[in-house]
């Protein structure tokens, strides 16, 4: 049987191609993971810049920097770019890097398709961003693209719709690849219930994507035909209904929330055990809780539409079903805390970010339970309370999971430790900046400040100023992240050991590989069935 050293021979024979063509034609899951992560980082900056424009405008009441129409374009593009351009590709990057080594696979199952899943994205992003320069500017209806408003805008509509189609194509291809890899390429002995949590959460996420992205594609196709081909899907005069779009959109949109946060759950389920020096508490219940969250997420969508005038029985159903989600989510949070219970805790940067995740996500979850009540939601609807809520879940949940995973695995990818002091600085700046940014927005919302409006009443000024200062701290702290990544990629910093974190070897297959991992076929010839442990 070949040894690990032989794998390097293979690497020499078929090393990466040179120059730009390496990245364009690559089928290597690690290269594609890197591409996804770099793209996500770039989009995070673009979307972040748009957020800073929004916050700068809101620093004072009145109109200072941008006109209201441009402000609305910024809120719309910020959301679309962050959701589809930054967070989802970042998790796809993690999936590419980590799923094959975690399950003992040589690569992703369909490597050429993997290449295409990524290479659709930059073209889709271009198609979206060029709408800023068209007559009437980019779509300014909010990322939900509700008709009839979205049908009354300038030339940007078809470009935006085809962007959504391309993004959907990319997500579906990536999801198919992930499911096939997990079903078909697990190493002997890697049974489904032995699979690490990150793999499990991505499996459920991929199912969700396959089930809901086509519905979004269909819904925006109807927008296109309503605008350009005389159909009446969302036109009551012709027998249609604009609320139909809301149902279709949120049938996609609510699972999308879990698509963003489930892989973060997976990452946190790896970080906490390593830095608690204990196995994950209740692994099986984690798997089932994830599956239950996935199922529930598909049957609660209309809690986004309590104010449109649904029949009362429907509101009641969606209200109770939504509250149910707190149960499996509670199981997860309980298990994370129980994992730390009596553990030998240390707080390196990934663990700090995992703690940040717990605090922020649980906080966002609680405000979510508040809003799940239909009668109370009539009051919260469409004000800054909801803005604060979903940023706590999507940024505090999703992005904090990305931060944790980034610091956790960066040494495994690059072979270099990051500078711990810089990492901690990044955490504290981000954490404090974020809370300063979004905590006051709860109070603004409860006091009645509506979202998506560039102006506000003077009594909201102080909280808005705090929020804007927080936004700039949070935004500029991310430059540190780029610097940290740049240094590691350049090969600066202390060399990482193979297991990177003390005792990590007992926590998963990926830590038994060299740091950095071999370029091709990580496990070539390694007998890994002995390394797979029962948790």
């Amino acid at each position: 049987m070949a040894t690990v050293a032989d794998t390097h021979g293979v690497e020499h024979e078929h090393g990466p191609a040179k120059g730009i063509m390496r990245w364009i034609t690559t089928t290597n899951h690690k290269d594609i993971g890197t591409l996804y992560l770099c793209f996500a980082m770039a989009m995070f900056l673009v979307g972040g810049a748009m957020a800073l424009i929004i916050r700068a405008e809101l620093y004072q009441p009145g109109l200072q920097l941008v006109d209201p129409h441009f402000f609305n374009q910024m809120t719309t593009l910020h959301a679309l770019i962050m959701v589809f351009g930054a967070v989802m590709p970042a998790f796809a990057g993690f999936a590419n890097w980590m799923i094959p080594p975690m399950i003992g696979a040589p690569d992703m199952a369909l490597p050429r398709l993997n290449n295409w899943s990524f290479w659709v994205l930059p073209f889709a992003a271009t198609l979206l961003v060029i709408t800023l320069f068209l007559e009437g500017g980019a779509v300014a209806s909010g990322w939900t693209l509700y008709p009839p408003l979205v049908l009354q805008m300038g030339d940007s509509l078809p470009f935006t719709i085809f962007t959504v189609h391309l993004l959907g194509l990319s997500s579906i291809m990536a999801s198919i690849n992930i499911i096939v890899t997990i079903f078909n390429l697990r190493a002997p002995g890697m049974t489904m219930m032995k699979m690490p949590m990150f793999v499990w959460t991505w499996l459920i996420t991929a199912f969700l994507l396959i089930l809901v992205m086509p519905v979004l594609a269909g819904a925006v196709t109807m927008l296109l035909t309503d605008k350009f081909f005389d159909t009446s899907f969302f036109n009551a005069a012709g027998g249609g209904d604009p609320v139909l779009f809301q149902h279709l959109f949120w049938f996609f949109g609510h699972p999308e929330v879990y698509i963003i946060v489930l892989p973060a759950f997976g990452i946190i389920s790896h970080v906490i055990p390593v830095f608690s020096r204990k196995p994950l508490f209740g692994k099986n219940s984690m798997v089932f809780a994830t599956a239950v969250i996935g199922i529930l997420s598909m049957i609660v969508w209309a809690h986004h539409q309590y104010t449109v005038g649904m029949p009362v029985p429907a509101e009641l159903y969606f209200m109770y079903a939504t509250m149910l989600i707190a149960v499996p989510t509670g199981v997860k949070v309980f298990n994370w805390l129980a994992t730390m219970w009596k553990g030998s805790l240390t707080f390196e940067t990934p663990m700090l970010h995992a703690m940040g995740f717990l605090v922020l996500f649980v906080f966002g979850g609680f405000t979510g339970i508040m809003m799940s009540q239909a009668p109370a939601d009539l009051y919260y609807h469409d004000n800054y309370f909801i803005v604060a809520h979903f940023h706590y879940t999507l940024v505090g949940g999703g992005v904090w999971g990305i931060f944790a995973g980034f610091f956790f695995w960066l040494p495994k990818w690059t072979g270099r430790m990051y500078d711990e002091r810089l990492g901690k600085l990044h955490f504290w700046l981000s954490f404090l900046g974020f809370n300063l940014l979004f905590m006051p927005q709860h109070f603004l919302g409860l006091a009645g400040m509506p979202r998506r409006i560039p102006d506000y009443a003077v009594q909201f000024t102080e909280f808005n100023q705090m929020s804007t200062v927080g936004a700039f701290i949070f935004g500029f702290a991310q430059l540190l992240l780029i610097y940290i990544a740049y240094k590691a990629i350049k090969g600066e910093g202390e060399k990482a050991t193979d297991e990177v974190w003390e005792g990590a070897k007992s926590h998963g297959l990926e830590w038994s590989l060299s740091s950095p991992m071999p370029y091709h076929h990580s496990f070539e010839g390694v007998d890994i069935s002995k390394a797979i442990k029962d948790e």
């Binding site: 490597p111 050429r112 659709v120 391309l166 396959i210 089930l211 109807m222 159909t231 009551a236 249609g240």
Partner: protein, 290 residues
């Protein structure tokens, strides 16, 4: 250039995906420009479509060549099978979107527009459009698109149901032929299936022509026209794709490709064909009949 890992084949260079992205970008960007009235849009759309078609020829050609070289073991073929299954699952959800819209409109929206219900739009629409009698088919309270005749189920559509169901039988007969290495039966079954498929498409085209020229039934005929043409149109598109898919399989079969062991492309085409078949049954029941 490639290496076998164990025996799972992993290609190391993918030159077609980037061409596919450029093609899709050109095609969809061109289509968008055409829709907003920029002259060059139609041309760009055409060029983009050509690039996408070229990409498919190249990509599928490469995969077929590798398959014939025997690079794909059973595990690789299993990956392809799983891939096709989940691709079809996503297609099912795409149709579910339009079926769901149809059900929502027929069950809730139309009665509400007629004034039913207390918390919905009902009480207000009665003010907007007093006297609107909610019934299906409808083109809405404002009678968008004017007078129209709904499509009758028991003419061409019933015949088309028969055609598609028979084609499901012939494709299975072809599969049996392949499994016992009886190539003439395999080829005959494929030819019959493809012929039935294109007959279906021709009938559908005739039905559309009839609807547009004589029945006043167009895409603009309110919600009935919208749902009718979007559902049957996307389905017809899928039948066409499926028939082309089967034609490629037929051409390969005539060149001696496939045996009872290795015939993923045929199976994928057959699954796809059964999928469009099942969608049609839904269409026949809920769009034409009920």
């Amino acid at each position: 250039m490639s290496t076998a890992s164990g025996s799972y084949y992993l290609p190391h260079v993918a030159k077609w995906p980037i061409l596919g992205s450029i093609g899709l970008f050109t095609m969809l960007g061109g289509f968008s420009l055409k829709l907003i009235g920029v002259g060059v849009g139609g041309f760009l759309m055409f060029v983009g479509a050509l690039i996408v078609i070229g990409m498919m020829f190249g990509w599928f050609g490469e995969v077929i060549k590798e398959g014939l070289q025997g690079l794909y073991n059973h595990q690789v073929e299993r990956s392809f099978r799983w891939g096709m299954i989940w691709f079809i699952a996503s297609e099912v959800m795409f149709f579910a979107c339009f079926f769901g819209s149809l059900f929502y409109i027929r069950m809730y929206v139309v009665p509400w527009l007629g004034g039913e219900g207390t918390t919905g739009v009902g009480e207000y629409t009665n003010m907007l459009w007093p006297g609107y009698a909610p019934e299906w088919p409808t083109n809405g309270p404002a009678r968008i698109g004017g007078e129209f005749e709904p499509m009758e189920a028991w003419g061409i559509p019933a015949l088309n149901t028969l055609i598609l169901l028979s084609s499901g039988v012939t494709v299975t007969w072809a599969h049996w032929g392949l499994l016992k290495n009886d190539r003439p039966q395999f080829v005959k079954g494929l030819i019959a299936t493809i012929a039935l498929g294109f007959t279906f498409v021709l009938f559908q085209a005739y039905e559309y022509y009839h609807a547009y020229t004589e029945m006043g039934l167009t895409l603009g005929a309110g919600i009935y026209g919208s749902t009718f043409f979007m559902l049957t149109g996307f389905h017809g598109m899928h039948v066409t794709i499926g028939a082309i898919f089967l034609t490629v399989v037929l051409l390969r079969a005539l060149r001696g490709h496939f045996d009872s062991e290795h015939h993923f492309a045929f199976e994928a085409a057959a699954w796809y064909w059964h999928f469009v078949d099942v969608v049609w049954l839904g269409l026949f029941i809920f769009v034409y009949w009920l």
